[in-house]
């Protein structure tokens, strides 16, 4: 689930990766979610073109697979930025300034989320998503950067963390 697995798999097409996952998983009971997770973990998203392939292997309709992919916020149909930043916007974090932190993150990352959904910066560096409760309510506000949690966040610390990512790029 790293934010940048695509480069490692550049030589391998989404169809090939999906075929490998399906070969291993398709016969399991309740296979769809684990398959979608593995495909996204490998590719960073679940490309639209592999939906028919998954549907056929599981004897489901494309609509059923599409429905699951789009129902869950976690699954992306579009490739994310190189880093995925999630800012918790649930009540406890809101009470500790999460809304202002989210606006700060939008400015800093150049991501402008519309209607509460995620967005990716023009240069493809960052995807910013709202998230609803990381279970760190007692240490709010909390954020996630590439699957690592950070609590008691301030705009200054946020800039430090992002600065480190940019310096490492």
């Amino acid at each position: 689930m790293s934010a940048q697995p695509a480069a490692a798999n550049a030589a391998t097409s989404p169809e090939t990766i999906t075929r490998t996952v399906l070969a291993r998983r398709a016969q399991e009971p309740g296979a769809l979610l684990p398959i979608l997770h593995e495909v996204q973990d490998a590719l960073g998203h679940v490309p639209r073109e592999v939906v028919p392939q998954i549907a056929e292997a599981l004897n489901l309709s494309r609509a059923e697979v599409h429905g699951v992919v789009t129902y869950y916020h976690h699954f992306r149909s579009e490739a994310p930025g190189r880093h995925v930043v999630q800012v918790c916007r649930a009540e406890a974090c809101q009470a500790m300034g999460a809304d202002a932190l989210f606006e700060h993150a939008e400015q800093r990352l150049g991501c402008h989320a519309h209607g509460g959904h995620g967005s990716t910066s023009d240069d493809g560096s960052f995807t910013l998503n709202p998230v609803f409760c990381l279970g760190l309510c007692a240490s709010s506000p909390a954020i996630v950067i590439d699957e690592r949690l950070h609590a008691r966040m301030t705009p200054e610390r946020f800039d430090q963390l992002i600065g480190k990512l940019e310096a490492a790029a």
Binding site: Y71, L134, A151
Partner: protein, 311 residues
Amino acid sequence: MSAAPITVYVPRDSAALAVGADEVADTLQAECARRGIALNLVRNGSRGLFWLETLLEVATPRGRIAYGPVQPEDVAGLLDAGLLNGAAHALCHGPTEQIPYLAKQERLCFARMGVTDPLSLADYEAHEGWSGLRAALAMPGETIVQQVLDSGLRGRGGAAFPTGIKWKTVAAAQAAQKYVVCNADEGDSGTFSDRMTMEGDPFMLIEGMTIAALAVGATRGYVYIRSEYPDAVATMSEAVVRAQAAGFLGDDILGSGAACTSRFARRPAPTCAAKRPRCSKASKAGAASFARSRRCRPSKACSASRPSSTT
């Protein structure tokens, strides 16, 4: 390095990791290595004193002594001050168990939380782990159900549904395959006891689900974990591997012939923004059809973790 290693606890709960516990642990290891001190580092769960995270504890003849909140840059100074002897320091809170917040609590389902290494089977066993499962393996399913009925155990998800009634219903249902499904999807802000259970005492959940499976005749279990809890996913996954390797899960639990295997449904966050009605501006039509029963919490006694059981 002739002295016996000194045991230091640095939590691995995500509330500690999110404020730098890994960096504190790394710094401590590096500083001790540099000073030639033998260290036994234990990554325990959280005591729940979040304002003191990262809460570091040192095992001393006086018991565990607490220091917090510790930042990586505090470590060298703490060692200079005699941290490993439990010496005084501005960050020292004395014996952990005597911190007023903890001293006035009677912990039941959280009794092991923060005390043990959550992934240590030896720790779990030494703190009453598996005693409920061992007792359950010696009884027929209906006796387990009757004991749970008699205990008055109830769900802790809000409806307080009697656990024994639920188990009895599932036990009576006819099905070729029954499942125990643990819904660990707590999305309400301010509640994270499911997260703490999975990260801080995962074998309790596995044991409780296995007891439920024995009681109702299920042989497969699912834990539904939110993708907002990456550390819980990691800890539970590892706990299942270890429980399986030690014979507490699988086709022949502890040589009893009983079977229970566990799988994870790592729950991807739904598009409806955690499906909470009050976030309606982010909700989408159709989400309601996926609404699940409220989460269930581990309950006291017999470490039955009270997963919701369905056929």
